[in-house]
Subunit: 328 residues, 2 copies
């Protein structure tokens, strides 16, 4: 019997989850849940219904895992604990400072409902976190560096679009090659925010807007841009539409460490992602962890987990014998 | 209380484990076990004794985890199951075809002894295996490539040294850059053995030996060299001693996959290691998994495991709260 997945929220991530389910023969989409009018949401999978989120509870027992595809700011802090009372849940909560609070809320709900919740699943937090824990546990004397990009930052793109006179805008976070090379050379550099990443902005200005003012306002924006070397490139709407629709991303987690007598031997562990589409990749991670959540629940496990708590074997559709034979 | 580690076999790997223990404040070396005359084995750690392996059983209850540092050919198939009856054990068994049999033997012993055994721990098998299972579970439509090197292959170096007229010899496995680049470019190439790696041999010939004969014999050796582009470089003993004492290694696991509507989006996951010392790094992995074995045993778990079965949190000395705060 296939693992029955529910998707909560049908934006880029929700659509990505739907596509990822189609790539996994042991999974099936059992329903999409939305706060919008269900009749206004057209999904790709035939024969699957869209339901109002408010009525999700009625599907208890018919869905093995709910994958929550809303935002971390306001959706997930409410939705994940709420749904965890009735369902196993997976989310990609990424507001780092609020993880302890979110973990506790989801854990309380899971304990009450006898369900499994896995939070903060994706690539960062998620796969990058895994690489940090593996690398730091193996090389205790060392230093870990995370670089992001080249890729679109949704938060920074939103910030650009709030600037007066900006019609369209997108922001790419770009790792500074020189910094990455120094890290890879085991030089253990101390890097400032400015030295690690640059920010490239592409903007379509409203007609008649003062481009110099827009550029200055973006570059001096505190928190978002003022601590970085930022470039602002203006372009026409047609070029923007053509060149900036994909959502690529990626990055590196690099740990360098010393081992041996006198701790003089250099060791380097690097994990890198080069993603053609950030939401499609994040969705693929969510679906693999949904498999794990369902299996753990079938074993009687309950409570809130993160990627740290999930043995890798739970992610694979293969049996223990098969993974030892094919992947070890 | 610290985790008490026993080292079985005091060669390069055993010495590496001893150094790795010194880097982990929650671990301590409790004894070294050898088949040699214990009085002939001088270890680095003060106040720790060397015991005959045959009397290891007497230390039951005084050692939390035995780390087995022998070879896969003849040592580990016997030693790991034998010691698993009295101790939690970790080994780096890497004879791939015999893993199912070894797993069963260790599992039987662990079930009998109520202990935990983790086999095939290191970087390949080990960390590379982990990256294969994560990447394949996340990108089911894709292709995984493993490249090794540049690094010393012990087996191939031994093969060179068995050739008549060879006084000293070492072999480096080197990934073919063009092949790695084609994989990174998501071209999904079909690669033959010859296209993936070259083999570089450095040889000191016995006085009067015919170098042309040695070179031909190496290059045509079946299984080891005949399927590869192999170079043989002769050098004098002094240069050899100076340039070929380190044991560097490393490699890459790369998975490329397609996601999205029509499966047209390229996604790339790459894991790479650049190791100044292969045995010191492998030892560091063994010690992190020893921490996991001890914790699992304390929770009442028993049986044989591989890296696939161990949740990453078990490897870290930090608590769940700490890892969520610092690494997620």
């Amino acid at each position: 019997m296939k693992t029955r997945i529910g998707i909560v929220g049908y934006g880029n991530l929700g659509r990505g989850v739907e596509m990822a389910i189609a790539q996994n023969p042991d999974m099936e989409l059992a329903g999409v849940f939305t706060r919008r009018d269900p009749s206004s949401v057209k999904i790709a999978t035939e024969g699957v219904q869209v339901y109002p989120l408010s009525e999700a509870g009625k599907k208890k027992g018919e869905i093995d895992v709910m994958i929550l595809c809303g935002g971390s700011a306001t959706d997930l802090p409410v939705q994940t604990p709420e749904l965890a009372r009735d369902f196993n849940v997976i989310d990609s909560f990424d507001t780092h400072a609020r993880i302890p609070e979110h973990f506790k809320n989801v854990d309380d709900a899971c304990q009450e409902g006898g369900t499994v919740g896995i939070i903060s699943v994706g690539w960062d937090p998620g796969l990058f976190s895994l690489n940090r824990i593996y690398a730091e546990s193996i090389l205790p004397n060392g230093k870990t560096y995370t670089f992001w990009g080249k890729g679109v930052s949704q938060g920074h793109s939103d910030a650009i679009r709030r600037v007066k006179g900006v019609k369209m805008g997108i922001q790419y976070t770009v790792p500074v090659e020189k910094a990455v090379e120094a890290v890879r050379a085991c030089k253990n550099p101390e890097l400032t925010t400015r030295e690690k990443h640059t920010r490239e902005c592409y903007v379509v200005a409203e007609e008649g807007a003062d481009k110099a003012v827009i550029e200055a306002e973006i570059k001096n924006m505190p928190n978002y841009f003022s601590d970085y070397d930022t470039t602002v490139t203006f372009m026409d709407e047609e070029s923007f539409q053509k060149e900036h629709q994909a959502m690529p991303h990626g990055g590196f987690v690099i740990r360098t460490g010393k081992t041996g007598n006198g701790e003089t031997t250099d060791q380097l562990i690097e994990y890198s992602l080069k993603l053609g589409s950030n939401p499609e990749f994040t969705s693929s991670v969510l679906v693999a962890y949904a498999r794990a959540a369902h299996r753990l629940a079938c074993e009687g496990v309950k409570g809130c987990k993160t990627v740290f708590d999930i043995a890798p074997a739970y992610l694979s559709p293969m049996s223990g014998e098969e993974i030892r034979k094919n992947l070890l």
